[in-house]
Symmetry: C2
């Protein structure tokens, strides 16, 4: 193993979030997947946007949020994701680079435009995501800097981007290159990939032993494994990924390495405003602590602190000083 | 006077705010007009944007914010302002229309793009605004619906848009048409128009008796009148505009009609986060109460409540239920 030049390189959706508050009746009337994510066509997105209230725009994307958090925690990170050469693409790129995240993926000439996610936040702070992926799903293996991937400690892959063929091919290539170079491959599940054909592909990659750190929430690992009880899910996965990290919302989080299981409670939050990005920032905190050589329990605790910060305000990017909060 | 179809039609900048927190050193290093507003060229805006931190985008524009507030207070309002046919223009139009504000000004083919205001918020919650007006300054008298203006109770004009020639001509035409139709002409001062040639033009319009309600903060009325002491400013202006409304930040606000002067204290705010839009929402509350036939003191109080709400969070558009807060 040669010395690594970056702590983490992530591949994921390059998306700007369009965040509005709403009531439960709106979610029901528009048959939105409460608490979940659905993909929308451009026309469907325009229709939903026309129906929803005034919004604020904040850069998002699951792995991109994690890299924003990791950079805020002092790590050297890069992000690979596809934007278009338009105003939302400029906003996404600015927000990444201004945090110190290396972001060099060339913008595509639209159409399609930069992806956006229409996020409706209900009074219980739950977010319902409606993604129009746009350029984000146009990512191709050709944009990968394989030397960068080989020389980074961790490659972090986003489950949401596992659906479309070319981005999946890019992530698989990156995972294989990193694995062969002895690097750590981290993968974060997403609800939408844990069903049907996609599930087989993800399970296949995990069973091949390519995934070193697997992140997921309770629902995701249930859907992925087909097991109902959490101990069964853990038993089903823990022999395959070296490190299994499961977030449980207000019930905290747990991690399993071989026979060693650690649990931490959720950090208390004065007021939960918007749960968007909780899992993304948990992964950021966990990976940042891991890259700094902290023990497993400290990794979970750092993840919990970062997640608690991001759910205390609108938007899935940290606003407070995460280094001060975590002591990292 | 015929019956009016709308409560207020406003003309102003159509701008998306790009809001980032920063420290005082950044303001000094980039020689920004702390607490004020400066106009930037596209290149200057790109340079400042590249230097500033991650941001959130929320629709803005002074009179547009006031109409967002007035609509949230239950009034029937319209907004006239120029966006380009681009993503930020779509965002601006969506945010207006989703609040119920009629917004029919056709978008221009860019360039220039939709205007944006780079807002830096320092730890004391003070905002420093750096506006790249883009399409906003391309507004022409030709887009005015004069019948709509003639049939609306109030025409509300934004001082920031007084600088460029064509928008000024549009506002002057609207003011004259409304005045001739016996409608109420309201004008809100802005720091940037109270100097040099522009000052003469504004004073001229006020002295002609076209402005019925004049809004300004202490600094603005000082600069406009050239008087130092507030009583002198009031004396200098109160004979000219039927209603003079002066906001004084944490010192509250006052209004003068003929010999009658009313003062109200500022509403207490648990935590002032971002003072952007305080004056805009004050005007919204004042005009909404006025259109509902409330007495002068109640108009000031409604303005104070709306201003207090908007400075308690980032962005210059209301987030809480203003009707519930004000009882209007």
């Amino acid at each position: 193993m040669t010395s690594s030049s970056l702590d983490i390189v992530a591949i994921g959706d390059a998306i700007v979030d369009v965040i509005a508050t709403t009531d439960d009746a709106f979610i029901e009337r528009h048959r939105l997947p409460r608490g979940g994510m659905q993909l929308l066509s451009a026309q469907q997105a325009d229709e939903l946007y026309a129906a929803m209230g005034p919004a604020r725009e904040i850069s998002g994307g699951s792995a991109a949020n994690s890299m924003a958090g990791a950079a805020a925690l002092g790590l050297d990170v890069a992000f690979v994701g596809q934007v278009a050469a338009d105003q939302l693409g400029d906003i996404f790129a600015h927000d990444m680079r201004s945090l110190g995240v290396a972001f060099e993926t060339p913008a595509l000439v639209p159409p399609p435009p930069t992806g956006r996610c229409l996020i409706l936040v209900t009074p219980d702070a739950q977010r319902t995501m409606n993604t129009c992926p746009g350029a984000s799903h146009e990512l191709t293996p050709g944009v990968l800097d394989l030397d960068l991937i080989r020389s980074s400690s961790v490659i972090f892959l986003e489950g949401y981007l596992w659906g479309p063929e070319r981005p999946r091919a890019a992530m698989l290539e990156a995972a294989n290159v990193a694995h062969s170079a002895g690097r750590t491959v981290a993968f974060t599940l997403s609800e939408s990939l844990c069903i049907g054909d996609r599930r087989e592909g993800v399970l296949g990659m995990i069973e091949q032993g390519i995934v070193d750190i697997l992140f997921g929430n309770e629902d995701e690992v249930r859907q992925l494994t087909g097991c109902e009880a959490l101990p069964q899910c853990v038993a089903s996965l823990s022999g395959k990924a070296s490190t299994l990290v499961i977030t449980r919302g207000p019930q905290g989080a747990l991690a399993v390495e071989s026979d060693y299981l650690v649990e931490v409670p959720a950090m208390p939050v004065a007021q939960v405003v918007d749960t968007t990005g909780a899992g993304d920032l948990f992964a950021a905190g966990f990976l940042a602590a891991r890259c700094r050589g902290r023990p497993l329990k400290a990794c979970l605790e750092t993840g919990s602190i970062a997640a608690a910060e991001v759910i205390s305000h609108f938007g899935a990017r940290p606003e407070a000083d995460l280094r001060e909060l975590t002591g990292l």
